[in-house]
């Protein structure tokens, strides 16, 4: 412990040099002063610490963010103004051309539409199912509750690629199990789960739902368990049925969690990549681009067409879309919390 204290003191004398390795001989000299300061530090608690220390604690995040977050962002903003050759030495400045091309690019708008469609089919049904699952798991009479709760997370840690391969087989047009099951249920004709736009969105949404359902159920479960039981007791005394208890006690209490799950789902939804990629087998998201998503389109332009500048422009557009959606989310959340305060 004394080592830690001494380094603390050295740094206090020279706050500008906090990363410099210290010299043990120097630290020995002002021993009395050090003791005094230590006492003072104990008296005033954490307040006595040099405030510059805080920067050292948050530094790891900011250094990482600078290298892996900010630097690539700035770099991609720069290359968005170029006709960028990925391996070349000389780059050609193209001004706003990438952006003006993008606005009139129907493939971009297709990708945007697909992304939102897949988001809708994966988020909304999933949320309803997750709340349902959570209420089942909350039931105290359920046997082996811990086992079920643990097993719910298994899909979440399965590799996306493995999921996509298995689901790709399930959704096979000619010999897939899903079509086989539907035929037994009386479906007259096989559905082409890959070539048709809407079925392909549903197939992809199913993969996403399968993977994230358990995770979201646990989040709902946690917030359900936090609902005080007296609310249910008084509801029961008032003669509320199970459904009424769910509708008027559980659901309102889950409002914040629903918003949270919705926001996380939206962020994930705008990044859907591996599922459509594996389902289609290439970057175009199906032969008619029927399930090309925004990130897939970005990747295709960068790595298939070698248009890095254009891909960077797409990235900037995605950022703008995310900002807009976050703003909407923020507005909704604020409205919900202000409703609660009334």
């Amino acid at each position: 412990m004394s080592n830690a204290t001494s380094s603390l003191d050295t740094r206090k004398r020279k706050p500008t040099n906090i990363f410099k390795s210290e010299d043990p001989h120097k630290a020995e000299k002002p021993k009395r002063k050090k003791d005094k300061e230590r006492r003072k530090a104990t008296e005033n608690g954490i307040k006595a610490l040099n405030p510059n220390w805080g920067y050292a604690f948050v530094a790891p995040f900011f250094v990482m963010f600078l290298i892996f977050g900010l630097a690539p962002v700035i770099y991609s903003i720069v290359i968005a103004f170029y006709n960028w050759d990925p391996l070349g030495d000389e780059q050609q400045f193209s001004g706003l051309m990438n952006f003006t091309d993008l606005i009139v690019d129907d493939q971009f708008w297709t990708a945007l539409r697909n992304t939102f469609s897949i988001w809708f089919f994966s988020t909304i049904p999933q949320m309803i199912m997750a709340i349902g699952l959570a209420s089942i798991l909350r039931n105290p009479r359920l046997k082996g509750a811990t086992f079920w709760r643990t097993i719910l997370l298994v899909p979440n840690i399965t590799s996306v690629l493995a999921i996509a391969i298995v689901f790709g087989q399930l959704f096979g047009r000619d010999f897939g199990l899903v079509n086989l099951a539907l035929t037994y249920l009386g479906m007259p004709a096989h559905i082409d789960w890959i070539a048709e736009p809407l079925p392909s969105h549903i197939a992809i949404a199913t993969m996403i739902t399968w993977r994230w359902l358990g995770y979201n159920s646990l989040i709902f479960l946690a917030s359900m368990l936090a609902i005080p039981s007296y609310l249910y007791e008084s509801a029961e005394l008032d003669g509320a049925s199970k459904w009424q208890q769910f509708r008027y006690v559980t659901l309102p209490q889950l409002r914040n969690t629903i918003t949270f799950v919705l926001i996380v789902g939206t962020i994930g939804g705008l990044q859907v990549f591996a599922e459509p990629l594996t389902l289609g087998g290439n970057m175009s998201g199906g032969d008619s681009r029927q399930f090309s998503t925004l990130t897939l389109f970005l990747y295709e332009q960068a790595f298939v067409n070698n248009r890095w500048g254009y891909a960077a422009a797409i990235g900037i557009f995605i950022t703008i879309i995310v900002i807009i959606i976050s703003a909407i989310n923020f507005a909704i959340t604020r409205r919900i919390s202000s409703e609660e305060n009334d």
Binding site: N83, P86, L87, G88, D101, D105, Q107, T146, F147, R149, T150, I151, L153, V154, I157, G168, Q169, G172, R173, D174, F175, G176, N179, T183, P188, A189, H190, D192, A195, G281, N282, M283, S284, D287, S288, R289, Q301, F303, V304, N305, N306, R307
Partner: protein, 429 residues
């Protein structure tokens, strides 16, 4: 949570952790030199790896496989970041791209005897500045693999010479297909409407496009790099012939390398596959139960080629000498012959083309067809063809347009102008 529950969930977690970690292999001995190889598909066959490691106990070959496109895409970023492997495989459709950047590759001039290899395959590994950046692996010589039993059942000859004589041209191939589908049983015909399992003559007529295209003298680029995809009559012919085939009802709607394809191969949903030499091994593995029912006939319109790669040593390689040693061994005529016998990868070493071990090679799975002889004859008919910088991307756009014809979303003419518009917009050089 009581203690019992804690133990239970801990065990569940451990099981889960165990499942995820099962794929990790134990660390190798530290004294060995690790030569890293990035490849895709079956470029480096397992026998080649184990045999080389047996002969060179001090070398540990670390092979990282990826899907074909993803492999080349990660190579681009690796070049940019100097994190390249010691050996990188480059497929011919990407050769035009990487040949434009020879500075990222070690010069392999003089490593092997150039005259041992097919000249046009050799040239696919020569950089635009004349530097040798890659040594050719196999040639994807293309022929028609067909099901004898299905041919017989649908009133066609089964003998490979007679079958080859059915289709000297692609138009005759389509006509033969029409004859075949006209003899489908009523059950097979209604299956397409009801179950959407469409029985057909060929697995996917879209595969005709690259086959016809590669039989021409030029594709999308002049040898100086000028784009000619709009004006080259060869491209238009390949496109319209393929579209005609797609509209003629001879094709199932199955895409290659999907689970439906594997299942269809076994169940006899289609009777022919345009098969490059490297695909024969895949057919054998996927449809093992159909052994002896297959045979191989000549491709319409002369020999064809699909695929093949070069092995390169990037300048950022950590062990360039060991990498060169491996390439020299693995791509030597003797080892190429061995790989052909074991896996059917057709050698690019033309010095073997008179070797009876190659020309006399037969396979029971394919009814003892003289596969070696058939593919040698095909490879000899091939002409060199220039692969341009964005060859692969342009291929994709034409492929997507043809797929729209296949599902009846567009007419051939509309799909053609759609593809041209897309390429105009997306391909700048």
């Amino acid at each position: 949570m009581n203690r019992k529950n804690v133990i239970r969930s801990a065990m569940a977690l451990l099981t889960v952790a165990g499942l995820t970690m099962a794929g990790i292999t134990p660390a190798h001995a530290v004294t060995k030199t690790q030569v890293t190889i990035w490849s895709y598909g079956n470029v480096i066959e397992p026998w080649g790896e184990t045999e080389y490691e047996r002969l060179h106990p001090d070398i540990d070959l670390k092979i990282k496989k990826n899907s074909m496109d993803a492999h080349h895409q990660s190579l681009i970023t690796a070049f940019k970041a100097n994190t390249t492997p010691d050996i990188a495989a480059i497929e011919v459709s990407y050769s035009g791209f990487f040949r434009s950047y020879p500075k990222y590759f070690t010069n392999l001039n003089g490593l092997v005897n150039e005259s041992d290899y097919l000249d046009w395959r050799w040239n696919q590994g020569v950089g635009n500045d004349g530097k040798v950046i890659g040594i050719p692996t196999d040639v994807g010589g293309l022929q028609v693999a067909y099901r004898k039993d299905l041919f017989k059942a649908h009133g066609l000859p089964t003998d490979r010479a007679a079958v080859g004589a059915l289709w000297p041209t692609w138009q005759k191939f389509i006509d033969t297909g029409k004859l075949y589908v006209s003899k489908l049983t009523p059950a097979e015909k209604t299956s397409c409407k009801v179950k959407k399992v469409c029985f057909g003559f060929i697995d996917n007529a879209g595969t005709m496009y690259p086959a016809i295209l590669n039989q021409g003298a030029k594709k999308y680029y002049e040898t100086n790099g000028t784009l000619i995809y709009k004006t080259n009559a060869n491209v238009k012919t390949a496109f319209t012939t393929t579209a005609t085939a797609l509209n003629s009802g001879i094709s199932t709607r199955i895409n290659q390398f999907t689970s439906d394809w594997n299942a269809g191969m076994m169940k006899g949903v289609f009777a022919t596959v345009l098969a490059p030499a490297w695909m024969l091994d895949y057919i054998k593995q996927q449809a093992a139960s159909t052994s002896g029912k297959w045979d191989v006939a000549d491709l319409p319109g002369g020999g064809g080629n699909l695929g093949g790669s070069q092995l390169t040593v990037p300048t950022a390689a950590k062990h360039p000498q060991e990498a060169k040693d491996f390439i020299k061994w693995y791509l030597s005529p003797a080892i190429q012959l061995e790989i052909f016998k074991r896996y059917g990868l057709f050698p690019s070493a033309s010095s073997l083309y008179n070797n009876t071990a190659l020309t006399g090679y037969k396979d029971k799975f394919f009814s003892n067809a003289p596969i070696g002889q058939i593919y040698v004859t095909g490879a000899r008919q091939l002409r060199p063809i220039f692969e341009g910088k964005n060859q692969r991307a342009i291929d994709n756009y034409f492929g997507q347009a043809l797929a729209k014809v296949a599902v009846g979303k567009m007419t051939a003419a509309a799909a053609w102008s759609d593809a041209i518009a897309q390429i105009d917009k997306n391909i700048k050089n």
